[in-house]
């Protein structure tokens, strides 16, 4: 079995070739004391994508990631319990009125970030969401134009060879997805039947998993273990798409490298990153520092980098670092189907409806989509346990596992300053203060959840599913905590993801979202990273870096 979890792999001029068992590929390396153009903290959807595009633009790039550098073909077992090695399971404290559940569902600790275990749902934002305040009356406007984002979405969809429907039923016309949709499993057909019976549109889900071969990557074999890591390499994660390109373009990726602190000089410019790797604390010099640790680790690092000059943490003159944390509500309705569903087969969310993202006649702000579900045994059992079943009743209910079917929402929660990431008194294995994550739904969030639960119950009932029950306490995807905006007072970074306070400090991940939309964020995070790389290139050309 692999030793990637505790031994660095990307070293000695080579990094794992993720598409070959035991394979290696050459990697350019930079000494710590060489001032590279960019050091990027985090090699997931934001940082990994950015590392690739910046390297391809000719910059010298070092990307640090706290997680191991996996070769999925040889390192991933078909086992939920074992594969929790992909999650960020270091301690974090949760509180608030609705404390979050972190780890499996929303955080990854791998080179490639949580895209290594994401459910691959790759949706575009509704154009109006980029101007949510002006056009829809809630949240905040993004400093980005949707038409520009539409182009970057295209770039990401092509890179990930998204398998999607021939025509997408909502929003402005979009180009054809590069790969065709996957076959539907029974769980997806239930959603489709329910949607047709209730007169709303549905579609096959655009997914970042191959429906046909691509290079050395195999097409999906419908093993259904997507959220515990794809051992087929069909999943088009950052690990197998952007990062091989990043290496080829001369970027260095350092696995098992935990960033502890960003240093700055007397002028207040960032000078590099102090990080822990191979048993030692080290310091990588850099002309620019990019933080891409996702909505918890990003503010944690900025706050942990507080100094006499920046006592409230870096890039925090607005006081907004860590604030406006947004989850997406992830409630579900489940029931039993007379026929066998066996939702453990195939990608978990093969069909979805965005109906309520595009219908504005609702008594709440924001939108949501809901999609079909696949559950592996421990997750399925957890759902029953959450509604109070244990003992023989639980064991009996689980005997009907193959008949269980459900749909789950991804709902847009509103930004609230009271929802935030702060530092706790406890420290982690590196001696760094851990994050305290405070979360409470607002009334609008609760109204949306009620609406969605009713819509999902209606969907399943119309498809002939019985014994319905709600799962009311799940959340997914974390966004916000370093929002982008038009001015230094109301935001942490500008449209280019550059911090207002420190011109050579950038943030590039889901933290920059001012609002979170009613769809999964990974495609948007990658699109922003592509845009940021292009903007950096343009700024550099004008001498404005």
């Amino acid at each position: 079995m692999s030793d990637a979890a505790d031994q660095i792999r990307a070293t000695n001029g080579r990094a794992p070739d993720v598409l070959r068992v035991g394979g290696w590929t050459t990697m350019r390396q930079y000494p710590d004391d060489e001032e590279v153009d960019f050091v990027i903290v985090g090699a997931g959807a934001g940082g990994g994508t950015l590392a690739c595009r910046l390297a391809e633009h000719g910059f010298s790039v070092v990307a640090l990631d706290a997680g191991p550098y996996w070769r999925p073909l040889e390192d991933f077992a078909s086992d939920e319990r074992h594969q929790s090695k992909l999650y960020w399971t270091d301690e974090r404290i949760v509180d608030g009125e609705d404390p979050l559940q972190l780890g499996a569902n929303n955080s990854g600790q791998s080179v490639g970030g949580s895209t290594v275990h994401f459910a691959m749902v790759s949706l575009r934002f509704r154009p109006e969401w980029f101007k949510a305040r002006t056009k829809l009356g809630y949240g905040a406007d993004w400093p980005l134009d949707w038409r520009e984002m539409w182009r970057y979405y295209r770039e990401v969809e092509q890179t990930l060879k998204i398998s999607g429907p021939i025509t997408y039923p909502w929003g402005p016309k979009r180009p054809r997805y590069p790969y065709r949709p996957h076959q539907l499993n029974a769980a997806a057909q239930v959603l489709a039947q329910g949607a047709e019976a209730t007169g709303i549109k549905w579609t096959t889900t655009p997914l970042a998993t191959l429906s046909a071969p691509r290079g050395l990557a195999h097409p999906c074999v419908y093993r259904g273990m997507c959220v515990i890591g794809c051992a087929t390499n069909a999943k088009q994660s950052v690990l197998v798409t952007w990062l091989p390109r990043a290496l080829a373009a001369g970027a260095e990726i350092r696995d098992l490298a935990m960033a502890g602190r960003i240093e700055h000089d007397t002028r207040g410019r960032a000078t590099g990153v102090r990080y822990h790797r191979d048993g030692l604390w080290r310091f990588q010099k850099a002309r620019n520092v990019v933080v891409a640790g996702y909505a918890i680790e990003t503010p944690r690092l900025l706050l942990n980098s507080a100094s006499p000059r920046f006592p409230d943490g870096l890039a925090n003159s607005s006081g907004l670092v860590g604030k406006n944390l947004m989850v997406q509500s992830n409630q579900a309705v489940w029931g039993m189907h007379e026929r066998e569903i066996r939702s453990y087969k195939g990608p978990p969310s093969l069909a979805l409806t965005e109906h309520w993202n595009y219908d504005d006649a609702k008594d709440f702000f924001g939108g949501y989509c809901f999609m079909s579900q696949g559950t592996l045994p421990t997750v399925a059992a957890g759902i029953h346990a959450k509604r109070g079943l244990w003992g023989q009743r639980l064991v009996d209910e689980m005997q009907r596992y193959n008949h269980q079917v459900g749909v789950k929402m991804v709902g847009e929660c509103l930004p609230q300053e009271r929802n935030r990431v702060t530092l706790a008194d406890e420290t982690d294995r590196f001696g760094l203060p851990v994050a305290r994550v405070t979360y409470s739904y607002c009334d609008n969030d609760k109204r949306m959840i009620e609406h969605a639960l009713a819509a999902m119950r209606q969907n399943l009932a119309a498809a002939g599913v019985g014994e319905l029950f709600d799962e009311t306490d799940d959340t997914c995807h974390l966004n916000g905590t370093a929002r982008m905006g038009d001015n230094a007072r109301d935001s942490v970074v500008d449209a280019d993801c550059r911090s207002w306070d420190i011109p050579n400090l950038w943030v590039c991940d889901g933290s920059v979202f001012p609002t979170c939309g009613g769809v999964n964020p990974s495609l948007t995070i990658q699109a922003i990273a592509c845009r940021t790389a292009d903007r950096i290139k343009a700024l550099a050309a004008r001498g404005e870096l």
């Binding site: 086992d79 301690e91 029974a186 093993r223 569903i341 421990t378 244990w390 193959n402 305290r436």
Partner: protein, 217 residues
């Protein structure tokens, strides 16, 4: 109740293309768990934990090798397999378990004058139900909320262990490990020949026959 998946044993697929070597290694280790191994809990806590496991997941009396739930919980704590978050109201995993087990034992003593491990099924279930609903307030809880202990430790740690075990997979008709081979037939009521067959009324014999063939490469 008759078996729902007669003759189905997910382990019969061990040498088929449904299992790769890394999966075999992981599952072999799990199967080799010594049911009496406990490095974290002392012997009193151990008896209480085993009694709780037996009520949270009752296993058939005639099961030759019951899933070693208590040992799997102990292992989770000793290997530091944290969840990635901790409710601010609940102490870290090991400490929460230690305090919770002690408190449940104290509650058993107070209510029934016996340790938790010596309670009958109905008595134990009664106490666990009370914990689930947050009705237990013995000083031994020492600030730990019984309801949170039940919801955030007892349930996920024990239920999570059980359904991570091949014995449970066979019981519920789960296909089990699936790499390199995945699945072909994903429509309603459709199974690949390497999946469990359900004994619906009238087709018990068919199901048995099909389940016996599951492991054929």
């Amino acid at each position: 109740m008759t078996e729902r998946f007669p003759g189905y044993d997910v382990l019969s697929k061990r040498s088929t293309p449904s299992w790769n070597q890394q999966t075999r290694t992981v599952i072999d280790a799990r199967l080799a768990t010594n049911p009496e191994a406990h490095a974290f809990f002392d012997s009193v806590e151990w008896e209480t934990l085993k009694a709780i496991c037996a009520r949270i997941i009752p296993q058939p009396a005639d099961r030759q090798h019951p899933v070693p739930l208590a040992a799997m919980v102990d292992e989770k704590i000793t290997t530091g397999a944290t969840d990635g978050y901790r409710d601010a109201r609940v102490p870290p995993m090991g400490e929460a378990w230690r305090r919770g087990l002690g408190a449940l034992d104290a509650e058993a003593m107070a209510r029934h004058q016996r340790s938790f491990g010596q309670l009958g099924a109905a008595e134990a279930d009664g106490l666990l139900s009370a914990a689930q609903q947050g009705f237990l307030t013995d000083p031994a809880w020492d600030g730990l909320c019984a309801e949170l202990f039940f919801k955030q430790r007892i349930i996920p740690d024990i239920v999570g262990a059980y359904y991570a075990h091949p014995t449970a997979w066979s019981e519920i008709g789960f296909g089990g490990p699936a790499a390199p081979r995945g699945y072909v037939r994903t429509d309603f009521d459709r199974r690949d020949p390497w999946e469990a067959s359900e004994a619906r009324p009238g087709r018990e014999a068919v199901a048995l026959r099909e389940n016996q063939r599951v492991g054929r490469s």
